[in-house]
Symmetry: C2
Subunit: 219 residues, 2 copies
Amino acid sequence: MSPPPAPARKTPRDGARAPTRIQTRIQARNRQAILDAALAVFSAQGFRGATLDQIATEAGLSKPNLLYYFPSKEAVHGELLDRLLDNWLDPLRALDPEGEPVAEILAYVRRKLDLARDYPRESRLFANEILQGAPRIMGALTGELKALVDEKAAVIARWQAEGRLQPMPPQHLIFSVWALTQHYADFDVQVRAVLGEGHDPWAEAQGFLEGLFARLLRV
Amino acid sequence: MSPPPAPARKTPRDGARAPTRIQTRIQARNRQAILDAALAVFSAQGFRGATLDQIATEAGLSKPNLLYYFPSKEAVHGELLDRLLDNWLDPLRALDPEGEPVAEILAYVRRKLDLARDYPRESRLFANEILQGAPRIMGALTGELKALVDEKAAVIARWQAEGRLQPMPPQHLIFSVWALTQHYADFDVQVRAVLGEGHDPWAEAQGFLEGLFARLLRV
DNA sequence: GTCTATACTCTGATAGAC
DNA sequence: GTCTATCAGAGTATAGAC
């Protein structure tokens, strides 16, 4: 099968009025509005629970108009997951092999908790996807994610071998950071129901988790 | 509105053959098959992602036949949640105020991890429900669950005041047990993807979590 | 680019034969 | 109690006017 020919360029001559520019700006704004709305709906209802009507209404568009910007519901969801994965691993990537071990991991916990607090919808979108068996991102899990964890686990293991960090399985240490930070985003409603009024879950979580990991990691 | 009259008893005379007994046994078996199938499907797909066709097929019945046993999809789901909530809090209930503090909490972690390992579908059913804002069990969260956590948190606080346990916010300590144990059930696919071949996630989790909490709780 | 109208499919639930 | 047939509504996606 031969690839389709490259599309003819439609760019207007320099100096001419460029309506496509304006359209492009409108398009960018609408695409972003759709993605924002879709994030809200997908993270709260799951992929199948979400409907294009909900997303379109939330974005201030009609359903056919939404489908002008994205070819399908799948496409919107996939775009969200792609963008999410781009940023999701940044806190772990930033773990510095040359830094002071305990401080580095505490800083990692802090970054991860900040991410969960500031982007809880992204966290729930991810949780939904994993809960359903990660049908759309399994490749990223076994590829990109595993590679990053392996790399950082080796750093942690080296720190432990050097006696600068309490020995424990490095992968499970990383899991514990994920579990504890994401819990406050994904199970937010349960956390608030149990704590009742007069609590600031995120502030308390930060203090608690810093204390927990400081105590856990010290040699 | 007056209540409907009590139905006439259909019980056959003693000694007569009792077909209703046999039917009752079949009914019990079918109801159980439906609930088993529904648990598998709801926990993997969420409430809206699941279809009655899937559940009926998995249970070896036709869709109308399923609806002979349960009046609606909601009813099946609700029954599952009711049964789940009955057992979900047992590990925490068993925390003995008269026991040795560290040993009691370690035993609690062990029970909770066993439950997650043996009933991962129940854990995912619960996670799905919470992720979507707990629309069907909010009452249980703010009622039964909060009351139990308050009670046990007071026990933990007393232990801490007596100097028999490291001071830390009791509610968040309980959250950490939930987060860390349920993570291995709910995010099982991610855990396995990251660990790769040749690992036994549950065995490793047990060792890791026992070490973690032992270190954390010791005064 | 955006809308109204609509085609088509899936799904929850019911009717009625057996 | 179980099945076939079917309805009604929701939901994804498309056609075509403007």
